[in-house]
Symmetry: C2
Subunit: 504 residues, 2 copies
């Protein structure tokens, strides 16, 4: 990819504000999140502030996912932030997985400190039972469903919740792993196992569709191994995406919970034959972690690259002018083009601020990943032209103003597709079929990427491979065909390949 | 209002499921919230579950408010749920008002109880500084703004947050007063006092517009007395609405915070002349309490009455049939009408379930406040007619199917206006100008409603009136004209009338 020089941008603006991906991928990511005004660390350890530009991208994701949930029959609701401590002991596996690193509310009042100007926790205001800030809501929700479900007529229940959750993480990274994060969690209740499994898979497909068509990220759908399964689930499905450093990022999970939570919270229903049975459950979620995936999958050393379908600003128009007279002339054309694009549903920002130079603006919108930049100067006005720059390839062309609206509409689609293709090809080029342990280690250690290899199906082998290489089994791909082979580690027989990678 | 009899509804369905407003207004409200599937109490004291139908109404409110915030230049962002305890000591008035009844996180880990199957709080995982679950976010946000603001170029900052907050309430009521509730909180930063005051008033107007045009509730805009002011504000503005029992419900507040939070968190900026100055602030919010206002302002003994602009379902179509043959015939017409209405942007539910009788459905949608019900039976099919029932007046008419789409569109507007007019007239009829203490007590004790009366401007008198009558000064109305008078309680001189009422 050639970075074309611009007649408008003085050298000074071209100084890289980001560490390059090659030099330090982790630092590049952090620089980008900060410099593009997406998020920052807060005064509370492990909690982030999601800044307006970052939040606007998250809102675009929410809007689309919400539409998809509703189109498949789900409704939103809201359940309490706090969960009584005892609820966590009710499902055996769940308590192991979730009741450990979490925020515990023990008191409900502060009082003035008699010895200072500050406030202290009032020892008289101790709760009888501690409350846990939800790390996930299966327990409180199934405790509620108990009262909602008597007969098969009350089923299915198809509910989603948009909420904040807290998991006390020791090592945090903006968007990727934070103590508090935003997410949606779906919790459904069904009369039969078949229905619940169907729901689990329907949502997995929905997540994959969202990732591919909106985030422009190809994903691999699969089931998790027992070791990586959600605490309390019989089967966990996930979508796995590849980042530009070859590492995997689990981007969404859908759990078939069987009757575990119904059993734990005694949720039974009368079926059509009058028989009392336990209810079947699923749960599923994606979080602000998707922001990390979106940033890492597409962006480059100049900044963010956003797929048009999730870009808060799809087109920015920058006028090139000296003095208010010139601006006034450009204004008419720029505003006409803005209005025409908006009438086609394109989101446009016209940046006519006189506090910043065009070169500064160019670099700024490049950093922020605005898919298309239009620039218009006095010479363009004379010639009836406009300059079009696309963020994904950094290519620039000059175009007739008459053709600009149709061109931008097509170009937005083209950019969306191009970003996806690039990510698709990258994943393809960095996915390996491997049959020996030496080759496996060589690729995991030096090349990176996804490795499809045989595994003997035991927790023990999985753990040893992880200890020796840091690679984990991301999933058993749904499209993995039956194929006789030998486990790369133990040499024992295996029926299909599984997907290994280092992961976020 | 005459309740017209229906040819379809057998007597059994007409049995009232709600306590009547006359018998017990508080019980009627609670019955309605539960029976209309809006919300319910949860296993966590003071925290509610917002059920799908209630949440759908809240989503309609959010959608509209969010649109209005964005149209006035505001962006959404997200700040941490937890606030370090010490932050609350930084603003003197704020700590008095907010740092008292709140949820305190003291630990970050649970562990297995060696003596039982349960879990206990791990005493080794005690936080160095306790974290408070936000009761409101001024402190954490101004601590963040400190890093965002250096010069006048960084101003204004116009940010809103949709979030959950927790205030430990002892006596809770669904939607009206809950420990955890959902809200939006705007937090803006400005270079001048004038700008900040202008913002405070702009939002007050926005809230009033929303209440009147969407919730169909007339409100009175005014300033709060010092005693009722937000902790840390120089001036608090509110909108006050009248419920059907004559009590006031504060439905939104907008605070001019002066430079208090900038001082507390040391947020200064270089103005255009190069002088360092403290930043000016506002904050403002509405919450799920609005759901309480919406329910109580319009509903009747048959159930909810929703203004069409906030109704999740605006029109329900109920087929009246015997057997699947008849249903098949009705289907075609019903679905055509549904499609035509939807193409006009009307939200329609076609309830063709065979598990419930038409009469049951009629009562159900009446309870749930669906503005328009269309019923169609075999005779209608022969005659080309359809029955139209409006929820607000309970009137029914038979109409030609050809005219139904235009009629429904007009009727939705008419219902919206009628609900507003009814509430407007009710408020007018129950607002009194009073000049003597006896008259004041008589009205507050026996008639209820809003009382405009003179007050001497002292905290002392305000408090005594409250103690003796339970009425508080809801606000000093912005449109209250200068008028010499004597305080109804102390007889001291007063320059204008203020608004008294009992309040939620």
């Amino acid at each position: 990819m050639k970075r074309l020089s611009s007649k408008f941008i003085p050298k000074i603006y071209m100084a890289k504000v980001l560490t390059s991906r090659k030099d330090d991928y982790a630092q590049w990511y952090n620089d980008l999140v900060i410099k593009a005004d997406l998020a920052e660390n807060s005064a509370v350890r492990g909690s982030m502030v999601i800044k307006p530009y970052g939040y606007a991208i998250w809102e675009k994701m929410q809007e689309q996912l919400d539409k998809m949930f509703k189109a498949t029959g789900h409704s939103n609701a809201y359940f309490p932030l706090f969960i009584p401590k005892s609820f966590f002991s009710k499902e055996a596996a769940h308590v192991e997985g979730f009741a450990k690193e979490c925020a515990v509310v023990t008191h409900y009042r502060l009082k003035n400190d008699p010895n200072s100007k500050g406030v202290i926790v009032d020892p008289d205001a101790k709760l009888e039972e501690e409350l846990i800030v939800r790390p996930t809501s299966e327990t409180i929700i199934w405790n509620t469903y108990k009262n909602w479900i008597q007969s098969y007529r009350d089923l299915p229940i198809l509910i989603n919740q948009w909420a904040n959750v807290v998991r006390w993480e020791m090592r945090t990274r903006l968007f990727l792993r934070t103590a508090e994060f935003l997410w949606q969690e779906g919790h459904t209740a069904h009369a039969t196992k078949e229905e619940a499994v169907e729901e689990t898979l329907k949502i997995l497909d929905l997540y994959a569709d969202f990732a591919e068509k909106f985030m422009a990220i190809p994903v691999i759908k699969g089931t998790k191994t027992e070791a990586e399964r959600f605490a309390g689930a019989l089967e966990t499905y996930s979508i796995e995406a590849m980042m530009q450093d070859g590492k995997a990022l689990q981007s969404g999970t859908s759990h078939f919970l069987g009757q575990n939570f119904a059993k734990a919270f005694d949720v039974k229903f009368l079926d059509k034959t009058g028989k009392l049975d336990l209810v079947w459950a699923t749960s599923w979620g994606v979080s602000t972690r998707l922001m990390g995936a979106l940033i890492m999958a597409h962006s480059d050393d100049n900044g963010l690259v956003l797929p048009p379908k999730l870009a808060p600003i799809q087109v920015v128009i920058v006028p090139i002018y000296k003095g208010s007279e010139q601006l006034k002339e450009l204004d008419v054309t720029a505003k006409r083009i803005k209005a025409e694009l908006e009438s086609k549903g394109v989101s446009v920002k016209y940046d006519d601020r006189d506090t910043h130079k065009p070169g500064w603006k160019f670099a700024e919108y490049e950093l922020k990943g605005v898919p298309i930049r239009l620039a218009i100067g006095p010479r363009d006005l004379q010639n009836g032209t406009i300059e079009v720059a696309r963020r994904d390839t950094l290519e620039k062309t000059s175009l007739s103003q008459d053709r600009i609206v149709g061109h931008v509409e097509r170009l937005l689609d083209e950019i969306q597709e191009n970003i996806y293709s690039k990510a698709f090809n990258f994943k393809k080029e960095n996915t390996w079929e491997v049959d020996t342990w030496d080759e496996f280690k060589e690729i995991i250690d030096h090349k990176g990427g996804f490795v499809l290899a045989h595994w003997d199906g035991t927790n023990e082998t999985e753990l040893k491979i992880k200890e020796e290489t840091k690679a984990t089994i991301r999933c058993i791909p749904l499209d993995s065909k039956e194929e006789k082979g030998k486990c790369i580690y133990s040499g024992k027989p295996s029926g299909r390949r599984v997907l290994f990678a280092k992961a976020y």
